[in-house]
């Protein structure tokens, strides 16, 4: 019996080539899309699960709510947190911190800037990274030790057998290799090239920060005892923080850190799927994972609907077979099984083709996502999953046609007419086409909106001119900073450079400095926290900020520049016994800062003086000389914080350089040459600001492109189905079309007839897709502090595009049918 089914199924496949091709190609493309998304989702859900203690490691995250600002949630903590937390919580077995440090690493003539991580010794006891040389557990015990990844070992030594070899780090301090770890797999949140012990001879001096509960500057991980209830532990953290974090008495009033910061532990395995500020690598939110899974299912649904529609549309042609089978004794169940079997067979053929497609596309797809995605044929769980998926699709797609076809009344069918086929299925087919196009239109709108928001983010007036703006990093290093001023003066004199200015913070970086400020007579218990940035005189001009009131900083006014004591300028601690100093200077506020300080207008702020807490017990008295318009220094997901800017004689960490339009090549050549002349032993760190800003939206960009690709596929598959359906409808209505032509209808009339028949479901689909898409996208856009509005034009446009594509698909076919001689059509029956 099975053989008879298979025979009929295969001969049907071959006989109805168009039908088979539409179904198999549609299913193959749908399944391939589904597999690609599945591989991505699976990969995203495996992050950091390879650590043997993954289930009892947690990361410390901090919710920071600065007064007057919305809450930030960051995956970093304060330096003293780890030790204090461990001491007070017996369920913590170990805690370890990671601090980033950018250093120049040298070996012989080879010299590079590297992002290194300073790690507590327990870090490698908590995380069992595989080592190829050295002993993991003790690799960080030696303050002059360093742990490299294989790639870094090869980069500097052309070998991984390098235990004991030495590297020089910043200022010729030398460290020796105590361990070489395997390169990190793709599915980890960690980005590690070089690990140094936290007390390394060439590490940053963290001493000054070790008791600073106000600076969020390190990643912190804790290893909990087995069976620890994370939720219960988290429940007590708020109270513990309030008790433990000190109140910081700034010169301008107390800062109650326990009120600002709220810690929360999150399981290591959910770090990747819960992206936060200051993550080591960009994560993928569960919402994104769910969205893509949904897209995969939708694409597959469209392909399955094709199958259902074409199968029922073709029912007339199979009606006789079904009836004969029934007459000779087949039960309804047997007929149902036959058709479901056929559908599963078709899906399996589609699956094979889909795997070929996946093979073809996977390398490019993996590269695009920047993830090491592979299809492992030896993985039984993956193969099982796919097989189950194919069977599921086959059964889902085949069930309705099977029940529909098996329900034929053989008496009427076999009487010779096709009248045994009810018209009810036509309505269901239409409904299914509506669903397909609703999905397609929804995806199209989503693609357009996601893309539009991204474009908005990338081209929005950020409040400054992002073109031709070069950022120089690392100029606050000891080796450079003494001649920083001279170097920048030389830059300013360059004919290709329009302006240049020092700054401690660069737009797009996650860092910010915040301090408590107070107006004369203000209530000291009321915290007014402003973001602040120490900049150069030409900052406003270099950045292209808009001055809305007052004046810019002025080199020629002695009082504008804050003069700092030597120890502060050198980044040292205040000498014991010396007096608390008050420093004076000028400040520019941004508009948000004007509002936060309670001035009615920008003009009202001019000439006012405020006090701010400086580092290490200094206090600043700043006179507001001007107000600049708000500008975005972070991603536009974030609101613009109230801020002030001041000029100080202390060297800055970075500089921004405005290059004259059209002279980029010449300017870069000059800048590199100047740098080499001044700092022959130092590599230059420079990057255009707009490149850096791209990274802020990298995730959204990928999302947008993936959306575009998969919604394109969805539309193609839906149109494929529509084409098939149109061709069957045309065949079914051949006689009618012939008659119409005999009665005088022209080709355009016939084309209009068929095209209109297929336009209705597409138009109806809009009514379903629009509100759903509107709801979903409005929700998504709310995650941006600054966003586009949903434009009805996008919705209408997507609907029109779908209609246009449908017309094209059906119209070509209709024209061909309409041109046939009517006599052929009439002879048909």
């Amino acid at each position: 019996m099975f053989r008879s089914y298979l025979t009929v199924a295969l001969r049907n496949l071959v006989k109805h080539k168009l039908y088979s091709a539409i179904n198999i190609i549609g299913l193959a493309v749908g399944l391939a899309a589904c597999i690609l998304i599945l591989l991505f989702v699976r990969h995203e859900l495996t992050y950091d699960r390879f650590f043997s203690k993954a289930d009892r490691i947690a990361q410390v995250t901090i919710y920071a709510t600065l007064p007057g600002r919305s809450t930030d949630h960051a995956s970093a903590a304060m330096l003293p947190f780890a030790a204090a937390f461990k001491q007070d919580h017996p369920e913590v077995e170990a805690a370890a911190r990671l601090v980033r440090q950018r250093s120049i690493v040298q070996q012989g003539d080879v010299q590079f800037f590297e992002d290194m991580l300073l790690a507590d010794t327990d870090f490698l006891r908590i995380f069992d990274f595989p080592f190829v040389a050295g002993t993991r557990e003790t690799a960080l015990d030696d303050p002059s030790g360093v742990v490299l990844t294989e790639t870094l070992a090869r980069k500097y030594f052309q070998s991984t057998d390098v235990l004991g070899r030495t590297l020089s780090v910043d200022n010729n301090k030398s460290v020796h290799v105590t361990g070489v770890m395997k390169d990190l797999p793709g599915n980890t949140q960690f980005k590690i090239d070089i690990l140094l012990p936290v007390n390394s001879v060439s590490g940053r001096n963290l001493q000054a920060q070790e008791q600073n509960w106000g600076a969020i500057c390190c990643w912190t991980y804790v290893q909990l005892k087995p069976g620890t209830d994370l939720a219960a532990l988290n429940a007590g953290l708020d109270a513990w923080m309030k008790k433990t974090a000190p109140t910081f008495n700034s010169p301008t009033g107390p800062i109650v850190l326990g009120d600002i910061f709220r810690p929360e532990l999150r399981p290591l395995t959910s770090v990747h799927t819960q992206p936060l500020l200051s993550d080591m690598r960009p994560g993928t939110s569960l919402a994104e994972i769910y969205t893509f899974s949904a897209v995969a299912l939708l694409v597959l649904a469209i392909a399955s609907i094709n199958f259902m529609n074409l199968a029922t549309a073709r029912a007339t042609q199979r009606a006789r077979e079904v009836s004969v089978r029934k007459v000779v004794g087949a039960s309804r169940g047997q007929i149902v099984m036959q058709f479901i079997g056929e559908s599963v067979l078709l899906t399996l053929v589609g699956l094979v083709l889909a795997l070929a497609l996946v093979e073809l596309v996977l390398p490019g797809y993996a590269a695009f996502l920047g993830k090491p995605l592979t299809f492992d044929y030896s993985d039984p769980s993956l193969l099982g999953l796919l097989l189950a998926l194919a069977v599921l699709v086959g059964v889902a797609g085949g069930a309705y046609p099977a029940f529909f076809l098996s329900g034929f009344n053989p008496a009427r069918v076999l009487k010779g007419a096709s009248s045994g086929v009810g018209g009810g299925s036509g309505r269901l087919r239409t409904a299914l086409v509506v669903v397909q196009f609703a999905i397609s239109i929804g995806l199209m709108v989503a693609t357009a909106v996601v893309h539009g928001q991204l474009l908005f983010a990338q081209t929005k007036d950020l409040g400054y001119d992002r073109e031709n703006l070069l950022v120089l990093d690392g100029i606050g290093r000891r080796e450079i900073r003494d001649r920083q001023g001279a170097f920048l003066d030389a830059l300013r004199a360059d004919p290709h450079v329009a302006a240049a200015a020092e700054t401690d913070l660069v737009p797009g970086d996650g860092n910010e400095n915040n301090t408590n400020v107070r107006l004369p007579g203000g209530d000291p218990s009321q915290m007014i926290i402003l973001r602040n940035d120490s900049v150069g005189f030409d900052y406003v001009r270099t950045m292209g900020l808009r001055l809305v009131a007052g004046r810019d900083f002025d080199r020629n006014r002695g009082g504008d520049r804050m003069v700092t004591p030597d120890w502060l300028r050198n980044g040292e601690q205040r000498p014991a016994g010396s007096d608390r100093v008050t420093l004076t200077g000028a400040a520019l506020l941004n508009v948000a800062g004007v509002q936060r300080l309670g001035f009615a207008t920008a003009e009202a702020a001019i000439g006012q003086v405020f006090e701010a807490g400086g580092g290490d017990g200094t206090s600043l008295r700043l006179t507001i000389v001007g107000v600049v318009d708000d500008f975005h220094y972070r991603s536009i997901h974030e609101e613009i914080a109230p801020s002030y800017f001041f000029v100080s004689d202390a060297p800055s960490d970075s500089a921004v350089v405005r290059i004259k339009a059209g002279q980029v090549r010449e300017a870069l050549a000059d800048i590199d040459r100047l740098w080499r002349e001044m700092y022959p032993d130092m590599p230059i760190q420079r990057q255009f600001l707009d490149e850096r800003l791209q990274d802020l939206y990298a995730r959204e960009q990928k999302t947008s492109q993936m959306f575009a690709a998969f919604s394109g596929l969805a539309i193609i598959i839906a149109c494929l189905g529509l084409f098939g359906l149109a061709s069957f409808t045309a065949a079914r209505r051949t006689k009618e079309i012939g008659l119409r032509k005999v009665l005088g209808a022209g080709v355009p009339d016939i084309v209009r007839l068929l095209v209109w028949q297929f336009s209705k479901p597409v138009l109806l689909a809009n009514l379903i897709a629009w509100p759903l898409a509107w709801w979903g996208l409005e929700h998504w856009l709310r995650s941006f502090a600054y966003r586009i509005d949903l434009d009805p034009v996008l919705f209408v446009g997507a609907g029109a595009a779908a209609l246009g594509i449908a017309w094209l698909t059906v119209g070509l076919h209709a024209a061909r049918v309409a041109q046939a001689r009517p006599v052929t059509a009439l002879r048909y029956e």
Binding site: R320, E321, G329, A411, G416
Partner: protein, 226 residues
């Protein structure tokens, strides 16, 4: 073999109710050859569908082999049908995708018969209708008469006790029609009960009894002298 008592079949479409069979009483003995005649729309096909258990009556009784089957569900009817009844149609109703051999074999596939026996029985049936030489051909490659012979082979291969033929010669020329009638007579002589609906008086003459239907009622029954 079968007995119809006061059989009524009404079709209902939205507002109109059509009575196809209106109190039909027919008794067919085992081994009989009965022809049903009457003008178009007299209820011949409705009658055949109910007798063949492809449809159920609106009211009345249908006794088949001593069993009242008129209220049986589809599954049970399918089972009785499978074991007892073979069908021959005016339009042959062969499956285009299957060869002659496979079309005939189809009737055995739902009977749990081992492949070897199936093959033997299909060959035997094909020989009986003299079409063995074309067993590998597809239906479109055959003439109408040949196709109907295949359909007869398919109808008899499962050795049904009763054969229902719905205008079996309607689509055939007279030579082919006569040949089909000879075959049916032969089958009847071997003991198969046959109920045949036909428009053709000459072909109805092959039957031993002719039932005339008019407007859903039996108007005459003529027993032909053997």
């Amino acid at each position: 073999m079968l007995k119809l008592v006061n059989l009524v079949k009404a079709y209902r479409t939205e507002e109109v109710e059509t009575t196809a069979l209106n109190g039909v009483n027919i008794h067919v003995q085992t081994g009989e050859f009965v022809a049903v005649m009457g003008p178009s729309g007299c209820g011949k096909s409705s009658l055949l569908n109910i007798v063949g258990m492809l449809d159920t009556p609106t009211s009345g009784e249908y006794w088949f082999n001593g069993e009242e089957v008129s209220r049986y569900g589809e599954r049970k009817l399918a089972d009785i049908r499978k074991k007892n009844i073979g069908f021959i149609f005016q339009s042959f109703n062969l499956i285009d995708e299957l060869t002659v051999f496979e079309n005939v074999e189809l009737a055995l596939l739902y009977h749990d018969i081992p492949a070897r026996e199936r093959k033997a029985r299909v060959k035997e049936a094909l020989e009986k209708v003299k079409i063995s030489h074309r067993e590998g051909h597809l239906p479109q490659q055959l003439s109408g008469g040949q196709q109907q012979r295949v359909a007869i082979a398919r109808a008899v291969v499962a050795r049904p006790r009763m054969l229902l033929a719905d205008e079996p010669t309607g689509n055939l020329d007279s030579a082919n029609g006569d040949e089909v009638m000879h075959m049916l007579t032969g089958l009847n002589a071997e003991g198969t009960t046959i109920v045949m609906v036909t428009h053709s008086m000459p072909h109805a003459q092959y039957a031993r009894r002719i039932i005339n239907l008019f407007d859903g009622q039996v108007v005459a029954e003529n027993l032909r002298a053997a």
